[in-house]
């Protein structure tokens, strides 16, 4: 329970046995009253066992579906088990669970709350095509959602019952669909979206990619996903 609400933390994880145990223990330590669901997205390592040993509920997919598939499973679980709030957190430990109560509080008058980097708190910066992609996405999505969104691809978000029900039925499995397309879909249906600044930490395991070619491809795909999301119903 956080402020009288049943909260489920959803952590999609793919081969994160190195960090998932610490992440689960940290979340459970900071937020004693919440349930933690680790969605093992077809990992080939011991992610599910490590997560279960750390005290998380584990839903294990038989093969890899991508973040979108893992997240819809998480929202379906939240919907079927009647949670008031579902919160998505990355498995690499970059999201600080101490922000969770702040996100939950905002859900009183908002439907979807996004924990955003570059919104004043913490130090995190990107350059080149990746930055252009982020600028483009935040400009377009801010207009659609009629609120300032600076970090549209953030994997740190909190959803209330109405959004849980929608995401349990509909959640895109394609690349960037889980972040960009869901925002377009949600905003267009008249739900209220808001972002709160959160500080991001260094990943506990794994490294982000910095290749310029990959960054260009990322920009192209972001543009394609955004365009598609806009012309879809």
């Amino acid at each position: 329970m956080v402020n009288g609400k049943r909260v489920l933390i959803i952590i999609p994880a793919l081969n994160e046995s190195g960090s998932i145990g610490d992440v689960v223990r940290e979340v459970r330590g900071e937020l004693p009253g919440v349930d933690v669901l680790v969605v093992d997205d077809g990992s080939t390592d011991r992610t599910h066992a490590v997560a279960a040993a750390a005290g998380a509920l584990v839903a294990r997919l038989p093969y890899n579906l991508g973040v979108g598939g893992a997240m819809r499973l998480g929202y379906r679980y939240a919907y079927e088990h009647d949670y008031d709030v579902a919160i998505q957190i990355d498995a690499d430990g970059q999201h600080d669970p101490r922000y969770v109560p702040k996100l939950v509080d905002l859900l009183d008058d908002t439907d979807l709350v996004i924990g955003a980097r570059f919104a004043g708190e913490g130090d995190y910066n990107v350059r080149g095509p990746r930055r252009w992609a982020m600028v483009m996405l935040s400009a377009v999505l801010s207009r659609i959602a009629r609120t300032k969104l600076t970090d549209t691809t953030s994997g740190f978000r909190a959803a209330n019952r109405r959004i849980i029900e929608m995401f349990a039925r509909w959640y895109p499995v394609e690349y960037l669909g889980d972040t960009v397309e869901t925002l377009v879909h949600t905003a267009r249906r008249g739900y209220k979206i808001r972002q709160v600044p959160v500080a991001m930490r260094r990943r506990m395991a794994g490294t982000p990619s910095h290749s310029p070619a990959k960054a260009m491809i990322y920009l192209g795909r972001a543009f394609a996903v955004l365009t598609l999301a806009l012309i879809r119903r």
């Binding site: 839903a59 294990r60 379906r76 079927e80 499995v173």
Partner: protein, 123 residues
């Protein structure tokens, strides 16, 4: 004459293949019927390549063979698009199945854990 033999024989071999696949239930009927329909049109053309010359002339295409080639490519393209569509639908179905399966497995795990806890408390 030789060419007619080659094209005609090819058509007949394809026809036999499709029928054999249907007979062994390796092809869904909807696809089998599609390819049989195509062969019913193609085999007469293979035997008499000049059949379509009149139609081709009316459309401003120099030869019936070119017309067949053009229509064939358009048709194959449509078939490919249709197959991509079918695969997308199948992926969506298997995705839902995978999610259902994971939910059930989580449910069983939770129940088993609860039961073990009860047992250990009793003992």
């Amino acid at each position: 004459m030789k060419l007619t033999l080659v094209t005609g024989l090819t058509g007949l071999i394809l026809l036999a293949t499709i029928i054999e696949l249907l007979r062994r239930r390796q092809l869904r009927e909807k696809y089998g019927m599609l390819w049989l329909g195509v062969l019913v049109i193609v085999i007469p053309l293979a035997l008499f390549p000049r059949l379509l010359d009149n139609v081709a002339g009316m459309l401003g295409v120099a030869s019936g063979v070119s017309l067949v080639l053009f229509l064939g490519i358009v048709f194959l393209l449509l078939v490919c698009v249709h197959l991509s569509w079918e695969v997308s639908a199948l992926e969506e179905e298997t995705r839902t199945l995978a999610e259902d399966f994971a939910l059930l497995r989580a449910e069983i795990d939770a129940e088993r854990a609860a039961r073990n806890e009860l047992v250990s408390h009793d003992g």
